[in-house]
């Protein structure tokens, strides 16, 4: 019943709104129909308010029309119940831990069996099972970080506490952190291991403060066997969160529970982080991860390609590794792109193919082709002046370049033919059309003109 009413509403709305409006504002809503009230759950307050102010009248009218009576409609920020969402592949006990915000939720909102209209809480405390030590490619730049992480995984709370992994973006800090967590859980399946990004820590704390459940928040985080907290530089400038994290941190360390943190630089260099935190973070073992050297980059590419079941010629791996030096994420991005392109075009991975697939990464700037640009390039090429192209002069040394320039404008830009004519000293669109035909004809019959046009095309589009 409920679904069909909303489904019918959706059909009508789809016909009445633009695709943009429908996809942006209506599609994200989740409807629940209980005790004759239509409850619309929006993913966040912004969407909820926008729906209320822009679409509510229309929705109410359609619902009333369809149901034959007036249907009370309420909007709320909320989400489908946990039971509705498929379980995460990581069936570790960590995923079964109730998230603190969920367990703290005051029992004032009536809950139906299928839906809880509570603020979206973090369910991302789970570990990513894909990040393990086995698939971490080791090299000079990350050896120490891997060794230290491995020891922490073997002896949580004892080896190094806290473990701080720091280094630039995309070097594998998060990978190592998850690997530690996965190893702990593997050895002790009921261990309570929580991974979260520091932004989530801040968000959940703010929520706990709003709902007056800060004690549950504290209890939750202090009860874990291992807390893995990513990107602590995001604590910068958030004093209340730093304070809370500081206490949690101390309590965990005292209890012999493991803390693993990552940061994009040495914590002492993070502005807006309290001194006592900076020094405390350095207590255990801070290990740096650096950008991988060429051999490691090649090894990373070969190993990732193998994992994807792809035959990667080593010359291609070397080619990519030589060109992309900054970080592993970018390297992986390049590889994924080559693989996806090969997969969806059905072409084998060769040097030329890789060059083509990574064209923009390798060249970076894609020149914007404008009429001005074309005129300038053509004038330079034929050693005439741009003003000649605009002029009424009709000797061949001018008209040929002018015609070629017009044809290039048609081919490389989206300007209308009248616009192109205008840009060449106010000529008619039929002149442009004639030029285009003429150039086509000349290209067929005259090798030199054909070459000129290809040269110009190359100059303009690379």
């Amino acid at each position: 019943m409920s679904d069909s009413l909303w489904d019918q509403c959706l059909q009508r709305l789809q016909g009445e709104l633009t695709a943009q409006q429908f996809n942006t504002w209506i599609r994200p809503l989740h409807a629940v129909y209980d005790s004759h009230t239509l409850r619309l759950l929006a993913p966040n307050a912004f969407v909820k308010e926008r729906v209320e102010s822009n679409f509510m009248t229309q929705i109410a009218a359609i619902a009333c029309d369809l149901a034959g009576l007036s249907v009370p409609i309420v909007t709320e920020v909320g989400t489908q119940a946990l039971s509705d969402t498929p379980a995460t592949p990581a069936a570790s006990p960590a995923t079964e831990n109730p998230s603190p915000a969920a367990s703290d939720e005051p029992a004032t909102t009536p809950r139906s069996a299928t839906v809880t209209a509570q603020p979206v809480s973090s369910r991302n405390t789970s570990l990513n099972p894909n990040f393990t030590f086995d698939n971490f490619v080791e090299g000079k730049s990350n050896q120490l970080g891997k060794a230290a992480s491995f020891q922490v995984g073997e002896n949580p709370g004892k080896a190094y506490n806290p473990l701080l992994i720091y280094g630039g973006v995309g070097l594998g800090k998060t990978h190592l952190m998850h690997a530690v967590g996965n190893m702990i859980v593997q050895q002790k399946p009921n261990a309570k291991v929580i991974y979260l990004h520091s932004e989530r820590f801040v968000a959940e704390m703010v929520k706990a403060l709003q709902h007056n459940t800060i004690n549950n928040f504290k209890r939750f985080y202090r009860s874990v066997d291992a807390l893995l907290i990513d990107d602590i530089q995001f604590f910068a400038g958030k004093e209340r969160s730093q304070e809370e994290f500081f206490h949690t941190f101390n309590s965990l360390l005292e209890g012999g529970q493991q803390v693993v943190m990552t940061c994009d630089r040495y914590p002492k260099e993070v502005d807006g982080l309290e001194e006592r935190l900076k020094s405390r973070f350095g207590w255990g073992l801070p290990v740096a991860i650096e950008a991988p050297e060429l051999e490691t980059r090649v090894a990373i590419l070969m190993s990732k390609a193998q994992l994807s079941g792809i035959e990667m010629p080593s010359e291609v791996a070397f080619f990519i590794a030589k060109r992309i030096r900054s970080n592993v994420r970018e390297l992986e991005g390049a590889l994924r792109r080559v693989i996806a392109n090969a997969h969806f075009t059905g072409r084998p991975i060769t040097m030329d193919f890789a060059k083509e697939a990574l064209r923009d990464l390798l060249a970076i700037q894609d020149k914007l082709v404008t009429i001005d640009n074309i005129q300038k390039t053509v004038a330079e090429y034929f050693k005439i002046r741009v003003s000649d192209l605009h002029s009424k002069r009709r000797n061949r040394s001018i008209t040929r370049p002018r015609q070629i320039a017009m044809a290039l404008c048609k081919e490389l830009t989206s300007h209308s033919l009248p616009e192109i004519g205008d840009a060449f000293g106010g000529r008619d669109h039929t002149t442009v059309l004639h030029a285009c035909r003429k150039v086509e004809e000349l290209k067929e019959g005259d090798q030199r003109i054909n070459e000129d046009v290809s040269n110009l095309l190359r100059t303009l589009s690379t």
């Binding site: 016909g15 695709a19 943009q20 996809n23 942006t24 599609r27 994200p28 989740h30 993913p43 966040n44 307050a45 912004f46 969407v47 920020v77 989400t79 489908q80 969402t85 995460t88 592949p89 979206v120 973090s122 369910r123 991302n124 789970s126 990513n128 630039g168 973006v169 995309g170 990004h197 932004e199 989530r200 990107d231 994009d264 970080n327 994420r329 970018e330 992986e332 991005g333 994924r336 792109r337 693989i339 996806a340 392109n341 997969h343 969806f344 075009t345 064209r359 923009d360 990464l361 970076i364 894609d366 048609k410 989206s414 300007h415 209308s416 033919l417 009248p418 616009e419 669109h429 059309l433």
Partner: protein
Amino acid sequence: MSRQLPLGIRLRDAATFENFLAAGNEPVLAALQHSSEVSLYLWGAAGTGKTHLLQAVCHQATAQGRRAAYLPLAEPGLHPAMLEGMEQFDLLCLDDVDAVVGDPDWEAALFHAYNRLTAAGHQLRLTASVSPAALAVELPDLHSRLGWGPVFQLQSLNDTAKRQALQQRAGARGVTLDDEVAEYLMKRCPRDMVSLFQLLEALDEASLAAQRRLTIPFVREYLGRQPGP
């Protein structure tokens, strides 16, 4: 004599994969329809069909029983707060990412949304007018993430394909656009697909109102009434 107003009911130009003219962009289409990658990044000039394809992705996901959301980031009046909670969707489509990068609040919101979405194992589809490398992102953490998944460039259609796309769109609206008329439009109007489709829509409405077929004299008359280019 008063002009007849067109009825409010007419065929909507629903964006699907079926009514997208691939013409050289087949690999991109295949990737969007079948890729299980967490993130895909699509870029190309205006009028290459980025919005159409994202909406088609949304359509397909919904038809498969997955929950999808589409956010046109270039639309005025949006706020970074609207990315909150978006990780609950199986598929999130962000159109025109280049419209918001450079703004620290948007960048932070995108970065966190990306992390939450990937942690939840859900998918992200992005578009922009430039490649990830050329995006002016200030936050390095976000920049490296945007280019992490496969990146595809959409190629502009050539004139023949443009005319075909225009006729196909006209057909979907129940209008016949003869070759000569399509040719006439291509010669006189901006040849990017956004302008051409807008023009088609305007012509369709004008022809309905005037109860006349889309012929060259009708189009000439219509264009003559519009303010010059």
